[in-house]
Symmetry: C2
Subunit: 246 residues, 2 copies
């Protein structure tokens, strides 16, 4: 899930006030005078190796996490072995909000590549949010955004075709890469076809066929995990127009 074009700075800045993910993350919209107070919030950073869990279903919840570098998937496992990937997460995004509800994380968060997160003590966050209006509001916005994007995921899963789903997925990635200063048209997928399939409610073979179809139609070019979007307009039309089905 790392884009090909620009280079991510790898300097380790331990403070929100200095962080280049500023405008994507929790500090957004907070007055300069208050920003420094955030730094106590994210004292700790944590490195997670590829394929390793940041947390697991049932772990006690004490913190939320902001992705500093790398990327994650979150998933739910059913007893019978079925897996549902519930999200792919990139830098600046917040993980762990599901834990607030019961005090236990309700899903697994797994690193898709070697990654680094800022650990945000939930207790301290609540405390600070009571003191800093802007932080409170931004935190609520982050949670609300997750709800909104979950709803559009339900829309995708509930009423789109395989090709539409993949198109929506690619356009969503493209947009998120753009927001991070990467190329909108060329990127590298960090997840397997199977994980994409699980996320989109499709089998990996179906995902593969959809990729092939897009390539055949000249919409994208695919080389394993390298994706280049060639005709994003037609990709968008694909989503909106196919007749109402399922």
């Amino acid at each position: 899930m790392k884009a090909t074009a620009p280079v991510t700075p790898t300097v380790l800045k331990k403070s929100c006030s200095q962080c280049n993910l500023f405008e994507l993350c929790l500090p957004l919209g907070i007055k300069d005078s208050d920003i420094l107070r955030l730094d106590e919030l994210v004292a700790v950073q944590r490195k997670i190796k590829r394929q390793q869990p940041l947390y697991r279903t049932g772990n006690p919840f004490e913190a939320i996490y902001a992705i500093r570098t790398g990327s994650f998937k979150s998933d739910i496992l059913l007893e019978d072995g079925r897996e549902q990937v519930t999200g792919f997460h990139m830098t600046g995004e917040i993980l762990g909000l599901d834990g607030i509800s019961t005090g236990l994380y309700s899903c697994n968060a797994i690193a898709l590549e070697d990654s680094e997160v800022c650990v945000i003590s939930y207790m301290k966050l609540e405390e600070l949010a009571r003191a800093i209006e802007g932080l409170q509001h931004q935190f609520h916005k982050v949670m609300s955004s997750e709800i909104v994007s979950d709803h559009s995921m339900m829309m995708l899963l509930g009423s789109m075709h395989a090709n539409e789903r993949l198109a929506a997925f690619l356009l969503n990635l493209s947009q998120r890469f753009t927001a991070r200063g990467f190329s909108p048209t060329e990127f590298h997928l960090r997840m397997t076809r199977e994980e994409i399939g699980s996320y989109l409610g499709l089998k990996l073979e179906t995902v593969s066929r959809a990729f092939s179809f897009f390539q055949k139609e000249g919409l994208i070019s695919v080389q394993q995990k390298h994706i280049r979007i060639l005709d994003s307009d037609r990709l968008k039309k694909l989503i909106q127009h196919q007749a109402s089905v399922r």
Copy 2:
């Protein structure tokens, strides 16, 4: 979505301190000494007639709503006419959290029957949440629960069969009715087969067939919108066990 067994009190109480939905709603976990301060939050109540919107996609966001009586669906409409029901909501549940993110509601909330909601000014809520720790935490829990249940909806849509989806739906309703003091086994659906289908990512005919199948198998009895659950254990097994498909 009103259960058949007990009678819902229809007395109009204008305050959280007196409300019988207390343990389902926002005031949960708040100290008695603080409860009275909530009453200023929900000064206004609003009545919504069946089929009427509480709010619509794109309406400016200023308030969230607690359902006092009745029930709602929320849905998203695509340009091409496709509809996705993103949730069914019963008394004590909070509507409108999707609006915080952008300042505009991102879905429609439609009454499934004549209903009544408490209007909670979002500005006042943020203000009070900064003052009352318990309120802040309960509000975060409510948002987090919505995220968790959206994720389990994604699981359902992404990896369950038609019969499993309907079983999960019925068991979920049953559980929520129980929490409200109604019968776990006998209730009245306030939504159509089409709305259920939209919610579950199925066509109405498929929903109808699944109902018939359950009845034939002696799992439930169906008479239009009256449902009686006859064998909830077997219904639960249905969800867990069917082989991994799709």
